[in-house]
Amino acid sequence: MTAVRMTYSDLIQYVSEESGASKSEVLQLTKHLVDVIRFGLDRDGHVSIPGLGRFTLKWHAARQGRNPQTGESLQIPARQRVHFKPELKLRHFINRKYNKKEPKMMQETPPASSLYIQNIEPEERTVMQGDNTASYSNGDTSEKISKRKIWPWLISALVVLIFVVLIIPRIGSKNTPVIKKSPVTSQKQTDDPNEPKNPVKPNKLTITHTVRAGDDLWKLSNRYYHNVYLWPNIYRANRKSLSNPDYVFSNLELDIPPLEGTIGNLSERDMKNIALGYMYVYLAHHHRKNPDAYTYLWVAREAGGSAILDPFIQKIDSADLQKAGRIKGKLQF
């Protein structure tokens, strides 16, 4: 089924016929709609359109790719892409013919040596393979590649698996509700010249971000550092204004401390700062009796070495320290 393309003028015609508005009105409306999406993506990195869905900017790290025509391997640079997720109602409506169909059990048992591991995070979805009998449905070429490079695959899959296991309690414990009341009153106010439009610049100045509806530390970290797991670094720099690392408030001015290095190549000082951030988050969560607080402790120790724990040793629960000691894995930002 190939979709018939509807041109812009056809769209305008159709909408104006259906709604009774004049063509010029519809034209203005669609222009404003595109405008608001661009404006929102520029300013916040995400826009929700009523009745349609949510547009977001997603950061894609550099990766090794292949030219599909020649098979040559090439480096795909890191970039931001615009993603769209339709609203639930829309998805159900489009899919209404198939909504009632359920997944069926298959007689076929999975090969014991191959396991699909699927997780919430699409980037970390991976295939773990025990040996060469890979049940892999991406076509012949990918199977050949995976057979040839079985060992690097296995190791990286294991690392990712461990990473995922460690990260899940953290996601669970970090529901960041944002409390807000009409932060934006008019467009002119939001177009503040001091407002950082771009992520961290090489001149390494501390950026000030004014919290708006829909923001949380996790998202801010993604936006400014291109990595969600560095959010404790923002918490560390703003502990005076944030009593709880899981809450941010509208109109709060947050300092976004710059990084010396880049993701994948962080400097020692960055790692120390991040470790300190995780340490403070641990203390805050421990204070609130979060049973998973020890995971933060583990990250703090992995990132900053055991020296980072020394100043806080009296505040750390020894049971948590033991639990953290039992975590096996390698930290990777």
Binding site: M1, A3, V4, R5, M6, Y8, L11, V15, S19, V26, Q28, L29, T30, H32, L33, V34, V36, I37, R38, F39, G40, R43, S48, I49, P50, G51, L57, A78, R79, Q80, R81, V82, F84, L90, F93, I94, N95, K97, Y98, K101, E102, P103, K104, M105, M106, E108, T109, P110, L115, Y116, I117, Q118, S137, V184, Q187, K197, N198, K201, P202, A213
Partner: protein, 96 residues
Amino acid sequence: MTQKEVIEYMADRLEKSKAETRRILLQISGLITQILDKDKSVYLPGLGTFKTRLRKKRKSYNPQKKQMMMLPPKRVLTYKPSKPLQKHFQEKDSEI
């Protein structure tokens, strides 16, 4: 930008009340959905193309049931950003 902010922004531009703006936005979204439902792709200049696609049934492993499952076919909406929009954000990147 939340839905509320979008409505405020649009109401300001269209010089209409917020309730009216919300109604208009829902109406145009509904009409776009109807077009997409008829297997037509919608192109908005400066934004990109929306289209629906039938995802075929496929085999997948359910890690909870520890069994291979046949997932039913599904109709999904896809979005492809327009070149200028994509370039706009890539250029923003290169300034980092």
